[in-house]
């Protein structure tokens, strides 16, 4: 398949009419089961703790559950985290013909971020993007890395889609956020790089890293599920198209009730892993972990 054919195929997949419907009762059942399971898990969280899940955390729990204990919530900015935020803004500029090429667009986005950061610091009159202050503090060698990573990322997304065929694409946009009802301190956050309307339902495009793995249905289903929760069945995304630019792979997940249910089960399993890890971390902090107390030969605490 030539590149042009590959781009055409991906675009066809994104704009094709929806073939699967999600019934209001089916969606309500998925959501109700999810709320029940998450409330039960949330109740096990150490007191005062709150669990915010995103696609990275869901996949980490599935692929490397052992790493959840050592993975904190502290956010550390890096070029790889920043490239997506800058990259989608740059692609948006290119698609709307405000910039001629990703290299130019990225430079403009970064320059605007610097200006916003300078104004925000002094006056609070504007809200700078999250990366702007961090980027402003980097020396030129560090800034060059950020810019280079964002250009490469933006070029991959810009080259993956036949943009004129996408009607009013939302590139980047706000992330979806769903708070589990009741007292459960569990929040699901999802995001897609591009949204386009197919009839009344959105279709999502997700840009993934590395190569497509066996759990790609979870990787694509998660942003679809979060976008569906709390919404009317007619507004549930009809599909999620995933592209892995580094490997050239593309997958399409049609979101019907079964796909939503399977994704919800995977999310519950991931949340359970994270809750367990939080409990273990707390036990270790208070010296209640395995082996933290002296034990006599018969197994009774000495």
């Amino acid at each position: 398949m030539s590149v042009a054919a590959r781009v055409a195929w991906l675009t066809d997949a994104l704009v094709a009419p929806a073939t699967e419907d999600v019934s209001p009762s089916g969606l309500a059942q998925v959501q109700s089961d999810l709320v029940r399971d998450l409330q039960a898990l949330g109740a096990e969280l150490p007191e005062g703790e709150r669990l915010e899940m995103d696609a990275f955390k869901v996949l980490l729990a599935h692929r490397h559950p052992d790493r959840c204990m050592s993975s904190g919530d502290t956010f550390v900015a890096s070029p790889r985290l920043c490239r997506r935020a800058v990259g989608v803004a740059a692609v948006n500029r290119c698609v709307r013909r405000l910039s001629g090429a990703p290299g130019v667009a990225v430079a403009e986005v970064l320059a605007e971020g610097l200006e916003d950061a300078a104004v925000a610091t002094g006056t609070g009159a504007v809200r700078a993007p999250w990366w702007a202050e961090w980027y402003a503090g980097l020396p030129s060698g560090g800034r060059a890395v950020v810019r280079a990573e964002a250009i490469t990322w933006a070029t991959q997304l810009l080259s993956a889609v036949d943009w004129p065929r996408i009607s009013k694409p939302v590139i980047g946009g706000r992330q979806d956020r769903w708070q589990c009802p009741g007292a459960a301190p569990v929040v699901l956050k999802g995001r897609a790089e591009v949204r386009s309307l197919v009839g009344r339902r959105p279709a999502l495009l997700v840009v993934a890293t590395g190569r497509c793995q066996a759990d790609w249905r979870v990787e694509l289903g998660y942003p679809g599920l979060v976008a569906a929760l709390g919404r009317d069945a007619q507004a549930v995304p009809c599909r999620v198209v995933g592209v892995w630019p580094q490997s050239g792979q593309v997958r399409v997940l049609h979101l019907d009730t079964a796909a939503l249910r399977a994704t919800a089960s995977a999310v519950v399993a991931a949340v359970a892993t994270w809750v367990d890890s939080r409990i273990e971390v707390e036990r270790a902090a208070f010296g209640q972990g395995p082996g933290s107390e002296p034990v006599a030969v018969d197994g009774v605490p000495a």
Binding site: R6, G100, V104, S140
Partner: protein, 325 residues
Amino acid sequence: MRLGARAGVLERDGLLRRLRGDGAARPAVDPGLAGGLRDWLEDGLVESVAALPGDGEVVRVNKESLNQVLVCEAHLVASRRAPRVGTVELARGSMVDALFRQWVTTGVIDDPWVDALAAFDVEGDRDGVVAFVAGLSPALRGRLMTEVADHAANIVDRWPVPSPAWLPRTQERLEVPLCGGRVVLAGVVDLMLGSPAQDRASVCLVELKSGARRLEHRGDLHFYALLEALRSGAPPFRIATYYSGTGELDAEPVGEDTLVSALSRSLDGAIRLCRVAAGTEPARHPNPLCAWCAGLPGCAPGQRRVGTDVPLASAPRAETDPGSA
């Protein structure tokens, strides 16, 4: 010090002409080629993958592992077991790579030493370059600073800053999973130019080398051409190695013969890497690198070739390691 564009327009034009192929027609993309190459690789790997342990461990095939395993399987195993040792040449290579990326992206290099170290600081210094250079004696560090500055000056003098319209992207990662992901061909290309191919090949790959010309550099480049063909469905139309120390540019077109020979070499290496991953006793092939092999003390064929059981790797590697680029 701030390095900016200055004289050397002819050199820059010449370099661009060679990257563009001097106006030669770009080959048509064969839509069935990539699928055929992939089938060929997967068919050749079926038995090797079947013999892998069932733990799901992925066999990664990159330019380093390919070069090592094709020289000697035992050498590869010994290299993996030995602690990674920094060398001045490796540090220089990493720093010049960072500066090349900065130049291509921004068209400005302020202070080569400071800029390169800043790049590692923000990117995460996986190779430990910052700690390595901090531990160097003042004399060696001074020598390295001079070398890095020379390479940076050469890049600034001889490399044009690519037009954004050519879609230059740096350090682009390529990953090609085969056989259900049990084998992954992987690489990071220093510079890619050109929009993705439609009917005709349109991408040019450039690898930067700060060391001397070596035979395996062509093999590395051909491997990357194969990866790009498999990933995007179209091979690059041109591949090039740029030597930042001398300004030499080795550029060549990519024909089907290039891809087939790269495939043959990659398949051979991948089969050997699968053998090693399956726990098979690594084959020993005495070769000119035996004297530097960390496994020499336990390798009779290697000792016979070298005439000693003491690897040169135990000497200060910064001055002796020939394996850096």
